[in-house]
């Protein structure tokens, strides 16, 4: 086994070169380059986490904005509904008022018309009564020779016509 038979011969050389190589790896790479690699990794991790943090903040900001926007939208919608309701009520009232005015006017005109009809009817009746009384007076005079006073004739005609109109009714 050369490991044993050569031991005393090569041990110092083995130790020396191991010390050199191990030392170079330890100080050159382990203490020189390793921290730089580690700091790069750390910097990246930090960057990633800070970016994530930022993204999270941005998202919550966006959500807040959205919530505000939604609230404003809701408010505006409610306002619009209120205005529409009010306008509807107002227009309904106005329409009602106009209808009422129109109805009163129409009623008035109808009343006036009725009045005129009544007046016309009364006038017609008066004329009719006059004519009828006259006719009755002459008919009585020609048939009987009795002179009837104008007033009596008028009274009788009026009474008769009154009966007729009541019967008609």
């Amino acid at each position: 086994m050369p490991q044993i038979s050569q031991l005393s011969e090569v041990f110092s050389s083995q130790l020396f070169w191991l010390a050199v190589v191990f030392g170079l790896i330890f100080f050159g790479i382990g203490r020189g380059m390793l921290p730089k690699i580690r700091s790069t990794v750390d910097a990246r991790d930090e960057q990633v986490s800070s970016d994530l943090e930022k993204a999270k903040a941005a998202r919550s900001g966006a959500e807040e904005t959205e919530a505000q926007w939604r609230a404003r939208m809701d408010e505006a919608r409610a306002e619009a509904a209120r205005i529409a309701q009010k306008a509807k009520g107002e227009s309904a009232r106005e329409t009602e008022a106009r209808i009422k005015a129109a109805v009163t006017e129409i009623d008035a005109r109808v009343e006036a018309a009725r009045q005129r009809i009544r007046d016309a009817a009364a006038a017609a009746r008066a004329e009719l009564e006059g004519v009828a009384a006259d006719a009755a007076q002459q008919m009585v005079e020609q048939l009987t020779g009795i002179k009837v006073k104008e007033q009596d004739a008028a009274k009788a005609v009026a009474a008769e016509l009154h009966v007729m109109t009541t019967v008609e009714r």
Binding site: M1, P2, Q3, Q6, L7, E9, V10, F11, S12, S13, Q14, L15, F16, W17, L18, V20, V21, F22, L24, I25, F26, G28, I29, G30, R31, M33, L34, K36, I37, R38, T40, V41, A43, R44, Q47
Partner: protein, 258 residues
Amino acid sequence: MAAQGKIDPMHQFTIEPIASLHIGSYNVSFTNSALWMVITLALIFGFIALGMKRELVPGRWQMAVEGLTGFVDDMVKVNIGSEGRKFVPYIFTLFTFILVSNFLGLLPLAIIPGFHPFTTTSQFSLTGVLAVMSFSIVVIVGFWRHGLGFFKLFVPHGTPVPMIPLIFPIEFISFWVRPFSLGLRLFVAMIAGHILMEVFGSFIVNGFNGGALGWGVGFLSFLFVIFVVALELLMCAIQAYVFALLTTLYLSDAIHLH
């Protein structure tokens, strides 16, 4: 291959000087072992240096390097906690050095005549030094942090008082056995795997040289070697991981005292 036609499975572990060097009376010759250590260093350095662009969005290579350093970081963090950060360079050095050395030893370079890869981690003169170094750090950290209170490590929590004289020596011995188990595990795993591959490789060569039965043996050995190489690849990674993991566990013991 040592002598004519004979296959010596131990030959691959022989350390041969390449350039003779001396410091004082010490022999520090540049050997094939030293050469492969330097190759290990060069590979690790190259691998890390190519991933040092330090970009925010890493490329593939940088990703691989950060994966390796992150792996060691995580291992230390999980086993020691946040105090373990200062041990990361040491654990990283251990892990990468053992891992790359193990894998280098498996390179099929013996196809080139007169040339073969040298597995530095199959030398207990090397794994032993690594184990003693890890163990020394554990002991130094333990006494540094806890003073004589470090001896509480040998008395687990909740031990009944009459049991202490019995438990203490057992724990004490198991503690001192740690460097041996640490160093020997790696050494044995490496040397056993390499001898196994070499032996079955020689079966293939000798089998195909001799008769119809030999062909059968050679073919079976070939199948077996494929399996063993796959297993060895796994073993290389596992042994490096185990060495680093056990060092972190021992360090965690020394820092937290159970």
